[in-house]
């Protein structure tokens, strides 16, 4: 096969688009190749237009590209909307009924097959056709399709193979060996696994895209760790979590912007009562309901400033699906070690995209902490939302208030010292370059891909820990810089304003706020303009 290629699967919601893309993703991951899958779907259950892009490569890939080699179209809309993305030699696979209309829309090669004949297994037939025209053996595909419709799927795959065997010349078939040790996971799953690795016992969440998959995954894994429960609302979620952590269980919650807003009061309580509180905060495009199923990076300021009063907190924004595993486990342990709120800030590009990953489980630990719980000691364990003395009794005494506030804020200093051992910032590209490009969270993926497409020299600086802000390392990195750029998927440049606030750096901003992730090609072009 060539170094890399991309497949776009599109159709209406309910046609099994996501399943088809994930099955392709698993197929190539287990075959030893690197995969990144992006899912684009509307907030509808049936109808509308959904598509997924599967990028397959010999090298590690961190984002999808809008340059497609094969389109598998389950409706005419897919041809209409995406044929422009097709490469010169690109092909479109569709049902025979769409052939006539598709030919009017594009000059690209159309392979019309009787996909709809297989009913609900049309998606299996579609991906089988895609594999065959790229010269892959479908035999191994059958091993992956373990589904309710397994027999129908097998019939579909076999029939498509017979048809294409006659029509298309299949070159030397790629013999692929399935190795299930390699994992094909989305960010929600790596986050969940990270939390479990750190000793998660209770998970509470109210459904909200794009954080719900963490709940779905953990609900299935309850036997491995404890309980995953969906209470009446996010306020309940946060307070259940604080009760649970107070009673000694490592607990986490998951939500998105709107749900997180409802948790602010409990976040502040966590700060005051010094109860570990772990939040998986998956951003989506706001404000308000915004664009529920699309991505954005517009809640950095929200999580940094959330909750009234002053208290230390830990905020980490893992930049890749793989990193999310390690940092989720760290976030849990840090919350317990320092008894503070700990926020894992991600976005839809991480929680809902899939990637072939290898999780380094040796790096994570289920740490034990010496904290008193009710029932564990004979002395009463009292926690309080009121200002309180060391025993937990309410106080209005100015000396004690000052002492306790200082005691809590001291934890921030200790946390900063503790975090010195961590890689708080990722530096990539030409280190010590005069050109510095900042980004955070999932945008790193698109930037790394964009870098491969431009000859411009620059250093990528991606802060992973955003609170306490890693000032020292960043100051060092920019000390010789001539040009500083900051790339973010929001409208105001929230990391840029942090840089200004903390380090008096005023970067050139490249922003995107159409609720779609950065396209590496477009980003490369923009960087060339600015650099």
């Amino acid at each position: 096969m060539k170094e890399e290629f991309s497949v776009l699967v599109g159709g209406k919601a309910g046609q099994g688009i996501k399943w088809a893309a994930e099955t392709l993703g698993k197929f190539f991951t287990y075959s030893g190749l690197e995969v990144f899958v992006y899912h684009d779907y509307e907030s509808v259950i049936r109808g509308g237009h959904n598509f997924s892009i599967v990028r397959i490569s010999k090298e590690k890939v961190y984002a999808h590209l809008n340059k497609i080699d094969v389109i598998v179209a389950f409706d005419i809309n897919t041809v209409k909307l995406h044929e422009k993305k097709l490469a010169k030699e690109g092909k479109i696979i569709c049902d025979v009924s769409l052939k006539h209309e598709a030919e009017k829309l594009t000059k690209k090669k159309i392979i019309a097959l009787p996909l709809n004949k297989f009913g609900k297994s049309a998606n299996a037939a579609g991906i089988a056709a895609c594999l065959l025209i790229r010269g892959f053996d479908t035999y191994e595909l059958l091993k992956i399709i373990k589904d309710k419709r397994i027999s129908e799927n097998i019939v579909a795959v076999n029939e498509i193979e017979q048809i294409l065997g006659k029509k298309e010349t299949i070159n030397s078939k790629h013999k692929l060996k399935i190795n299930k040790k390699r994992e094909f996971l989305n960010g929600s799953e790596t986050i969940a696994e990270g939390l479990i690795a750190a000793g998660l016992q209770r998970y509470f969440a109210y459904p909200m895209t794009p954080s719900s998959i963490v709940l779905h995954y953990l609900a299935k894994q309850q036997k491995r760790f404890g309980l995953a429960i969906q209470p009446e609302n996010e306020i309940a979620v946060a307070n259940l979590a604080l009760g649970s952590a107070y009673a000694g269980c490592k607990t986490a919650v998951g939500t998105s912007g709107g749900g997180f807003d409802l948790m602010h009061e409990a976040l502040s309580l966590s700060g005051m009562a010094e109860i570990p509180f772990v939040v998986v905060m998956a951003q989506r495009a706001g404000p308000s309901t915004g664009v529920p199923t699309y991505s954005s990076q517009s809640d950095l300021m929200s999580v940094i400033n959330a909750g009234h009063g002053e208290f230390p907190r830990f905020i980490v924004a893992p930049a890749t699906i793989e990193d999310a595993f390690y940092w989720s486990s760290r976030a849990m342990n840090i919350a317990w070690q320092f008894q503070i709120p700990s926020i894992i800030l991600v976005d839809k590009m991480i929680t809902e995209s899939d990637q072939s990953v290898e999780l380094d489980r040796k790096k994570t630990k289920n740490m034990k902490f010496n904290i008193a719980f009710p029932g564990s000691i004979s002395k009463a364990v009292k926690v309080s939302s009121n200002e309180h003395d060391e025993q937990g009794f309410t106080t209005e005494n100015p000396e004690i208030i000052k002492k306790m506030q200082e005691k809590r804020m001291k934890k921030r200093e200790n946390l900063i010292k503790f975090l010195h051992q961590e890689k708080r910032v990722r530096f990539l590209g030409e280190l010590n370059s005069k050109n510095i490009v900042f980004c955070w969270s999932s945008t790193l993926g698109a930037l790394v891909e964009a870098k491969k497409m431009t000859s411009k020299k620059f250093e990528i600086v991606a802060p992973i820990i955003l609170e306490p802000f890693p000032k020292g390392e960043i100051r060092k990195a920019v000390s010789n810089a001539k040009k500083i750029i900051c790339i973010e998927a929001n409208a105001t440049g929230q990391l840029a304003s942090l840089l200004k606030q903390k380090l008096c750096i005023d970067p050139i901003k490249i922003l995107k706020y159409d609720a779609r992730p950065f396209d590496p090609l477009e980003l490369a072009r923009k960087l060339e303009e600015v650099l």
């Binding site: 491995r224 009446e232 009760g243 009061e265 029932g375 009463a380």
Partner: protein
């Protein structure tokens, strides 16, 4: 030498005895700041009596008190037992979280009528629906007292206060009926002026497996002094009621019945949650 050691052991025994005696009263060093004559004193007295029995039965360390925000919640500072002094209206989710984390703990929650019936009414209904094995005690005085007098959801129609100087425009809710309809498996009403009976009800509520709810009529001497009214109208109920009888009884206003309106048995939420988890395919 021997004399010394006997003396020491006597002293130690005395110290232990004294400590036990002190612990038994669950006293703390916090100065009580409720208004003199407040109905909350009755609830505190009944609770302390009940706690004596409960700590013998479950061990003091296994009892957890949870409170919201308001006059009622100060009770946590006055009792030397594990406690979680939470947010206004959020007593019930904290209680559920504690119980789900460690089902061995006996969780007793305290909420004001503002907490339970205004800010956090959704949580109350859901706790009843879930049948979480916790006990919720609502200090119902029909007024926001710590904020110096505003109407709550149980304030009477026409009640004059700082926020409704023209008189309360809304009719009060009936907490007993609300909890019956929500599926609570133990629904009781008590009166802060009948300490002995309140203590009995608390003990029965904690012993009940599943969600237990006690609405405690609590006069507020500063903003809604109902002592004289309740002393005249309140009477202890006898015998068991069916669900329909309980619904009817809860409507009585000429005389005010106190006691257990309804109790029935159903698996608690925690039992079901752990059982269902074990049925999952791994």
């Amino acid at each position: 030498m021997q004399g010394h050691s006997i003396l020491w052991s006597l002293q130690e025994n005395w110290r232990r005895f004294y400590k036990m005696k002190k612990e038994e009263n669950f006293e703390t060093a916090t100065i009580n700041t409720w208004c003199p004559g407040c109905g909350n004193f009755g609830i505190l007295a009944a609770l302390k009596e009940a706690l004596k029995e409960l700590s013998r039965k479950h061990g003091k360390e296994n009892i957890v008190m949870v409170g919201g925000i308001g006059c009622h919640a100060k009770i946590l500072d006055y009792v030397n037992v594990n406690s979680f002094y939470g947010l206004h209206g959020r007593t019930l989710p904290v209680m559920t979280g504690i119980k789900l984390a460690n089902p061995k703990l006996q969780v007793i929650g305290f909420a004001g009528d503002g907490d339970a019936y205004a800010e956090g009414i959704g949580h109350l209904i859901h706790a009843a629906k879930r049948n979480t094995d916790v006990t919720a005690i609502v200090h119902n005085n029909g007024v926001f007292a710590l904020t110096t007098g505003q109407a709550t959801p149980t304030a009477a129609f026409g009640f004059v206060d700082k926020s409704t100087p023209q008189g309360n425009l809304e009719n009060p809710i009936n907490p007993v009926k609300l909890m019956l309809a929500a599926g609570a498996t133990f629904v009781a009403r008590a009166y802060a002026g009948d300490i002995e009976f309140l203590k009995e009800i608390i003990l029965k509520a904690v012993a009940h497996k599943g969600f237990s709810f006690i609405d405690v009529l609590q006069p507020c001497v500063s903003f809604n002094n109902t002592f004289a009214l309740y002393n005249k109208k309140v009477y202890r109920m006898k015998g068991k009621l069916s669900f329909d009888e309980a619904m009817k009884k809860a409507d009585e206003t000429e005389k005010i019945p106190i006691g257990i309106f309804y109790e029935h048995h159903k698996d608690s939420y925690e039992e079901v949650a752990f059982e269902k988890r074990n049925l999952l395919k791994s």
